[in-house]
Assembly symmetry: C2
Homo-oligomer: 271 residues x 2
């Protein structure tokens, strides 16, 4: 099923705009889990089971799997397979790739054939021509980094050209030139509600992924109000605060409780 449909079904079924980021870190998982054969996967499985009826999306940042080499990538695949078989929640591979066209075909094979992800994140620096191979995957969500959540993202993204910031120009391209298949989306950090509101103006009813609340300190209320399109169109991601609220063996139960609280708080600002 195409990503947007799958996403909206989960938004409705779980009354949720919350995306849990499955970014497992061997240094942070409980000892009990660390002693298992595939600790990243086992950790994820527990979090998935505890939150699958509370979220609209699972986001997996490939960096945390690559850090453990080939075995980590194997556990990334095990996690995607598990989500697909046991839930109806869409899988967002947050890999922020971009290369020349020829090479992007290889990355697309990793994302869409090997992992069978429903959506991916991409870096715009190489331009829309290079990203062409991704746009052609009509059923997939192609999410462009517009304004990133990190403290130093203004360095280039907020540089001005004739009164327009680079991030605004990227947003315009994504919305007006790259979105011929209706599958292009935007990523804007929740740490920048002003820019989030501006991107919402530019991209119309495109879906926006917004990471940065929780560990990164973004203001949830401001972000939700700035990013919504009606009562949806916004994916609020929390990774570290979602999966590490407890470092004990009760981590999954505590993560489930944290997800309920966060989902409900988002819904408060959604109405």
């Amino acid at each position: 099923m195409e990503f947007i449909k799958k996403l909206n079904q989960a938004v409705d079924a779980n009354s949720s705009l919350l995306c849990v980021g499955l970014d497992p870190d061997l240094e942070k998982v409980p000892k009990l889990v660390k002693s298992l054969n595939n600790p990243l996967f086992e950790f994820n499985k527990a979090i998935i089971d505890a939150t699958a009826n509370l979220v609209c999306c699972f986001k997996l940042n490939s960096a945390f799997y690559e850090a453990e080499g080939a075995n980590g990538v194997e556990q990334l695949k095990l996690t995607c397979d598990y989500i697909r078989k046991n839930t109806t929640i869409p899988i967002l591979l947050d890999f922020k790739r971009a290369d020349i066209g020829n090479t992007n075909f290889a990355y697309a094979k990793f994302a869409f054939s090997y992992l069978q992800a429903d959506a991916i994140t991409l870096n715009p620096y190489l331009g829309g021509e290079a990203l062409g191979p991704y746009f052609d995957y009509k059923d997939k969500g192609i999410i462009i980094l517009i304004k990133t959540s990190n403290p130093g993202s203004a360095e280039f993204q907020n540089l001005k050209l004739n009164d327009k910031a680079l991030y605004e120009i990227v947003a315009e391209k994504a919305a007006k030139e790259w979105n011929k298949n209706g599958n292009v989306m935007a990523m804007v950090g929740a740490t920048y509600p002003k820019e989030l509101a501006r991107v919402r103006q530019i991209v119309g009813d495109m879906i926006i992924l917004s990471p940065g609340i929780g560990a990164q300190g973004g203001d949830l209320k401001l972000a939700v109000q700035a990013g919504l399109n009606g009562d949806r169109g916004l994916i609020i991601n929390a990774s570290r605060s979602s999966i590490y609220p407890s470092s004990g063996d009760d981590f999954a139960v505590v993560a489930g409780a944290a997800a309920i609280k966060l989902r409900n708080e988002i819904n408060l600002y959604r109405d």
Copy 2:
């Protein structure tokens, strides 16, 4: 040993500024190789043996390994191990990553602990603050995408902000702010000799990696003359034209001959 030393030793030992790109593609490797257990690695091994005394660097684009999933990543590691054990040629992991700081630590673990690469490529869109964790690896080459080789790279990279193109601003930041450890380098496509000359002006004696001759059609003479710093400081990469000059079982011998020809041609323009 640090990347710059290792690179310059190979430049001298092999009289070469040529970098061979090990970007194996299952669709393109000869049938005989495809039938083996680790076809990407076996293909690479033959190319490495045939060219190790002709190059200054091996560049591995991670996309072509990720396309084959965990097993592909395993073959990427086997290739890096093989280069390290059997040659003194530095390993450049071309993975064009960039994420927020916390996540960049995980990518750095993949590149420098798991693969033990000597150098990496990075995308500048998130800014220097996000890339900080990489800059701290003083012995590694940290290569920033400045002006990429693809046909559409002007879309954002050549936008003018106060009379300066974005790629020029990125080059200035890389050279003047990010290079406190003397390990930051630039990547500029050989397909854009004018921009390559401009970046050389901006970055002084920084090393420049220049891909885009061969399959992408960059003019070798113009690129070498625009990018040199004295008789070196430039890494000329060829991937598809280096490793697929023959699709037959003689591929390694033909690739060796192609590398000799290309190395010598570069040296012609180097004097």
